[in-house]
């Protein structure tokens, strides 16, 4: 446990924050000039630089950034003046409510389809599912997003749902706003997930104990549940766990900016286009902390599932 944190996690955490810091502070636009407004005097710019610690060496600035990050002192947005912590508190629940249904349904659907494909390997159900997966992987996110909007939410299609916007006032409101994005996520992600699950299951199905179970006459689904899935759990858990950080803070830049949903993806997108450095630094820093937590949790889970790893 201690070794994992000391050897793997701390260096990654430092690396991610340093990468983001160097990109945004060293290469990014000069923040003091941007904040100074029109026709600043040299003294005003100089004073702003001192306030932002921009006159200190870059290493000192980086240490201040780390300190701010760990004390959750994230500053205020350059464009709206709103504290970054309150922006995050406002947007994280929206992003989660937007992405969670697609995530859960998508993985269940993919696991189901992949099981069917793997159990009927090289026969028509496998070929059909694989063909659909390739087609799904080939259609761009933006194309699916816009087609579904026209199909389900405009007068040229069914017009069942609102075309854009967001509301979590009631369960029905949430459902009608989350429906089209969820369908988009299902369509876009299922192809990739099916191919992944199928590859994992096929590999496990070729092992000798599975052949023995087949010989003993296990039904297909019992075979899957008893002999295959427990052994396939590690790669599956890895894939699921490592999607969590982007589920929590990544949000979906595309879905949120296109459908006008006030989530983390939307504020991140706005921060990128407006050059809002405090927001970008906070989102990057928090996502790297979440990634570190995920690494620890995944390691714990491995040990809980596979007793060989604790030995």
């Amino acid at each position: 446990m201690f070794n994992l944190i000391a050897i793997r996690i701390v260096p990654v955490l430092l690396g991610v924050t340093a990468l983001g810091f160097v990109l945004m502070v060293s290469f990014g636009p000069d923040r003091a000039l941007e904040l100074a407004g029109r026709n600043p005097t040299a003294e005003e710019v100089e004073q702003l630089r001192r306030q932002l610690y921009d006159d200190r060496p870059i290493v000192v600035q980086y240490v201040y950034y780390l300190k701010d990050l760990f004390t959750l002192n994230l500053g205020r947005s350059d464009s709206t003046g709103e504290p970054v912590t309150s922006m995050l508190a406002r947007t994280v629940p929206n992003s989660l409510a937007l992405l969670l249904p697609g995530f859960v349904l998508g993985h269940l659907l993919a696991l189901l389809l992949a099981s069917v494909a793997a159990l009927h390997r090289n026969r028509w159900p496998d070929r059909l599912i694989n063909g659909c997966a390739v087609l799904g992987m080939s259609i761009s996110f933006v194309v699916v997003m816009m087609s579904f909007q026209v199909l389900f939410a405009s007068r040229y299609g069914f017009g069942w749902f609102p075309a854009r916007g967001w509301s979590m006032d009631s369960f029905g409101q949430w459902l009608s706003h989350v429906a089209v994005p969820t369908l988009v996520i299902l369509f876009v992600a299922t192809g990739y997930n099916v191919r992944f699950y199928r590859a994992v299951l096929v590999e496990e199905l070729e092992r000798e104990h599975v052949r023995t179970c087949r010989m003993l006459g296990y039904a297909r689904w019992r075979l899957l549940a008893v002999a295959v899935l427990p052994n396939a759990a590690l790669p599956i858990i890895t894939r699921l766990m490592y999607s969590i950080p982007s589920l929590l803070v990544g949000g979906s830049l595309l879905l949120e900016s296109y459908f006008g949903i006030p989530g983390v993806g939307k504020i991140t997108f706005d921060a990128i286009t407006n050059g809002d450095q405090p927001v970008l630094k906070a989102v990057l820093g928090i996502s790297s902390v979440l990634m570190a937590i995920t690494m620890v949790l995944t390691d714990r889970l491995y040990r809980a599932i596979d007793p060989r790893l604790t030995a």
Binding site: R8, P11, V12, G15, V16, L19, G20, L23, M24, F27, G28, P29, N122, V134, L135, M137, S138, I139, S140, F141, V142, V143, M146, S147, V150, S154, Y156, A163, P245, S246, V249, G250, L253, L254, S257, Y258, G265, T268, F269, I272, T273, G275, Q277, L280, V283, L284, S287, S288, M291
Partner: protein, 268 residues
Amino acid sequence: MLSRLALALLGLFVLLGASSWLGLWGDAASITTGLLHGAPSGEHWLGTNAIGQDIAARAAAGAATAFETGLAVALLSTALGGILGMLAGYYHRGWPDHGISWLLAVIDAVPFYLLVGALAYAAQGAPGTIILALTLAFWTGTARLVRAETLKLRETGFVLAAMTQGVADWKILTRHVAPNAAHLLLIQSTITFVAAVKSEVVLSFLGLGDGRGISWGQMIAESSQDILAGHFTGFVVASLSLVMLVAALNLITDDLQDRLDPRYRRNP
């Protein structure tokens, strides 16, 4: 049969892109040459968009952009991932391995759009931002794969024999390891090519590119208002082009994988 069709389709897009590079369409992609929302005609094969630019010419220019981005990102990230992956695998548990593995972990820990967004913010619209950002995001996959393959190759008889004879490291890497990992690099570069083409469209759709070239992503973004008003041509042309190119490339990648990589052989 299917892969022949895919190759033919790919060839068609290469010709389309080349027609734009050779300037066969003139300025039609970027200036107003016809009516607004014009219908298809002899002069404008696929009609015109909301500001009277020729849709066919813009689709051709988009094909050129897709190939430029795809090729550049595939070549750069395969070269970077191949070289660093080989070094990390060959000097397993040495400092090159530790350093490179750390770099891989760091880059993969940043969510994709955040990495690209931070880079777009830093580059402030410099040319080649998209190519740089996508290379930075995609080389890690290749590097991991090549590192694992090199680890395996390092234990094979011919590499061990060369090591005991005292052959220089760079010679072992270039003569024995690289040729035996070449099939992986080829497969991985087609995978990267597809990913780059798709991501380029998403990034220009979001307006995070340098905004110089004409991209299918831009065409799709421009048509987002048009389709709600019932003008579908620009959207359909750009998205169909994208889907056909990516599907063709996906089929070719699968075929390559079946032929070159015994682990992925689906019909043994």
